[in-house]
């Protein structure tokens, strides 16, 4: 599956990475070769094979519905770039 610069630009936008055309051209080359390597997967006959998401065949453990956390807002917000009145600040979101 060949990679186009537009694929890179699209992925960069979805992943919220700033990317100009010059960067994109460099990535097309790198990513194209990585994908060519990855494309070898298509050679494998996986007919009737179930996908494996986790290396162990275990199942989800459930947690009791209990409140175990206390308010640590000030502690957690010490590492935040911008807060005011307990809220995280971001540039205005237009809805």
């Amino acid at each position: 599956m060949a990679l186009e610069p537009s694929d890179v630009m699209r992925a960069a936008h979805l992943a919220r990475l700033a990317m100009n055309d010059v960067d994109a051209a460099g990535y097309v080359d790198d990513l194209g070769r990585i994908l060519a390597m990855v494309d070898q997967l298509q050679e494998v006959d996986t007919h009737g094979v179930a996908p494996l998401a986790h290396p162990l065949d275990s199942t989800q453990r459930l947690r009791a519905d209990e409140v175990t956390e206390r308010d640590q807002r000030d502690h957690f917000q010490r590492v935040a770039p911008a807060v005011e009145n307990g809220l995280y600040l971001v540039p205005r979101v237009v809805e």
């Binding site: 599956m1 990679l3 694929d7 890179v8 699209r10 992925a11 960069a12 979805l14 992943a15 919220r16 990475l17 700033a18 990317m19 990535y27 790198d30 990513l31 070769r33 990585i34 994908l35 390597m37 990855v38 494309d39 070898q40 997967l41 298509q42 050679e43 494998v44 996986t46 094979v49 179930a50 996908p51 494996l52 998401a53 986790h54 290396p55 162990l56 275990s58 989800q60 453990r61 947690r63 640590q72 502690h75 957690f76 010490r78 590492v79 935040a80 770039p81 911008a82 995280y88 971001v90 540039p91 205005r92 979101v93």
Partner: protein, 486 residues
């Protein structure tokens, strides 16, 4: 003092030959003196270390010391450490003081160990050479022109140089075993789920696993016992008792069936590495083991499968680094999209961005089935290869890496760098444990023997490695740099 194993230091502490404070001060001095040339540490937690050492000595004075009380070590900078910068080797987290301890850190603290600092690593654990760190590359103590391997390169170099007797690493595709091999130390990647991932900054969640890096298998056994176990905060952690790994180190290897995967001795394997590995296997034969050729037919597809699954998970795991709640935020964002795009562009290095882009692309509409679903199917086949092999043999052996440590800057091309991990990556896809032990040299650069076992066979792996270390002295060799006096 600096060239002793953890086990020896534990005895010295217990016998009162040395205090934890003395030990800590000695090693902090060595770090100060030698690490300028290695760059193996990102942060040195001088004050916290001395406080912990004093607490350990006080505990010992009260007769309440445990087997690890007062032992110094280092943590890969991927483990969240309360009140300490936890950068994950990234500019993105250069300003991040972790507000909590990872489960592994909690366990090590409560066992009384003394962390001297946080070790350098490839950014977000993405790399095989430690050249992808925001804090600069780490150099191999055996040869300063060589890489230490990655991504736990700082941990491996620090142990090899005698800056710490042991360090914690993480392994997603070989990131403990390959640097251990390159630096001539012993590194264990446990079974997926054996050690809690809580508080380890995630790279690829279904592959990541933490483990010990030390001079000997015996030291790894000591540390694994301290960090393994079920953690209710990690859904993928396994509820299964933790054996006393050191208690099982005396088993004879007579009758042990060793499998040599045909695919691990093929094209691309450096002849000197192959020779060292075959010599090591002869040692095993002399210890009573038998050798059998086996096949892991899907080995060739492990790297392609890994470079779909790991970047896909990473692309999602790294979305939380958005400049809003923690981490790097760009200056004066003009709007929300600008905040996201510039913060992430500035905060992430090029290999991280490459993998985020690959993962984003392969998960997108129209590509998902051909890449992701197919990779997961291949993953099952790869795991089955190992399960089949372990029907025939007890352990598998082979090289940890096709070459010894390569020169800094030698692998500019990402794909050729990825191919370095050919012998380690399948292990993570299958979730089985693996250990790398020193098994010789190519010139000045160490060679690692990799030993693999079935899920949860850590005791056996550690014993197999330990018996080798009883019969050989590769693990006792020290680089010249480590022996330099002040």
């Amino acid at each position: 003092m600096h060239d002793q194993t953890l086990t020896q230091l534990a005895r010295a502490l217990a016998d009162g030959e040395v205090s934890s404070r003395e030990l800590t001060q000695t090693l902090l001095g060595r770090i100060e003196r030698l690490d300028g040339r290695l760059n193996s540490f990102i942060s040195i937690t001088h004050e916290q270390a001395l406080a912990a050492a004093d607490a350990a000595d006080a505990l010992r004075a009260k007769g309440q010391a445990g087997p690890l009380t007062g032992l110094p070590l280092a943590l890969k900078d991927i483990f969240c450490t309360d009140g300490v910068k936890t950068s994950c080797g990234s500019k993105m987290l250069d300003n991040f003081i972790a507000p909590y301890d990872a489960c592994v850190v909690e366990k090590l603290k409560s066992a009384g160990t003394v962390s001297l600092g946080k070790t350098n690593m490839d950014e977000f654990a993405m790399g095989s050479s430690n050249e992808n760190s925001h804090y600069g590359p780490v150099r191999n103590p055996w040869d300063l022109d060589a890489v230490p391997g990655g991504s736990s390169g700082g941990s491996a170099a620090a142990v090899a140089a005698g800056l710490v007797p042991a360090a914690m690493g993480t392994d997603t595709g070989g990131s403990i075993r390959q640097p251990a091999a390159f630096c001539g130390i012993t590194g264990l990647k446990p079974t997926y789920g054996r050690v809690s991932r809580y508080g380890i900054i995630a790279y690829a969640s279904s592959l990541d696993q933490a483990g010990p890096m030390a001079r000997t298998a015996e030291d790894c056994a000591l540390l694994l016992g301290a960090i393994a176990g079920h953690d209710l905060r990690d859904s993928t952690s396994v509820a299964r008792g933790v054996p006393d790994y050191r208690a099982e180190l005396g088993e004879s290897l007579s009758g042990l069936k060793i499998g040599l995967p045909r695919e691990y001795f093929g094209d691309g394997l450096a002849p000197e590495v192959e020779q060292a590995v075959r010599e090591a296997i002869k040692v095993y034969e002399s210890l009573g083991a038998s050798v059998h050729e086996v096949s892991l037919p899907h080995t060739h597809y492990a790297i392609p499968a890994y470079y779909v699954i790991a970047p896909a998970e990473a692309s999602s795991n790294l979305s939380r680094f958005d400049g809003v709640r923690f981490g790097h935020r760009c200056d004066a964002p003009s709007d929300l999209i600008d905040l996201y795009k510039r913060s992430r562009d500035e905060g992430f290095g090029s290999e991280v961005k490459r993998r985020i882009l690959i993962g984003t692309h392969t998960l997108s509409e129209g590509f998902f089935d051909a890449y992701y679903t197919q990779a997961q199917k291949v993953r099952r086949l790869i795991r089955q290869d190992f399960l089949d092999a372990f029907e025939e043999v007890d352990v598998l052996m082979g090289p940890a890496s096709p070459t010894p440590a390569f020169d800094l800057g030698a692998n500019k091309d990402p794909v050729s760098m990825y191919l370095q991990d050919i012998y380690t990556i399948a292990v993570n896809l299958a979730g089985i444990p693996g250990i790398s032990v020193p098994a010789g040299f190519v010139g000045s650069r160490p060679v690692g023997l990799q030993i693999l076992g079935p899920h949860f066979a850590e005791s056996q792996l550690l014993n197999v490695a330990h018996q080798f270390q009883q019969a050989t002295d590769w693990h006792q060799r020290r680089p010249a740099l480590a022996e330099e006096s002040a």
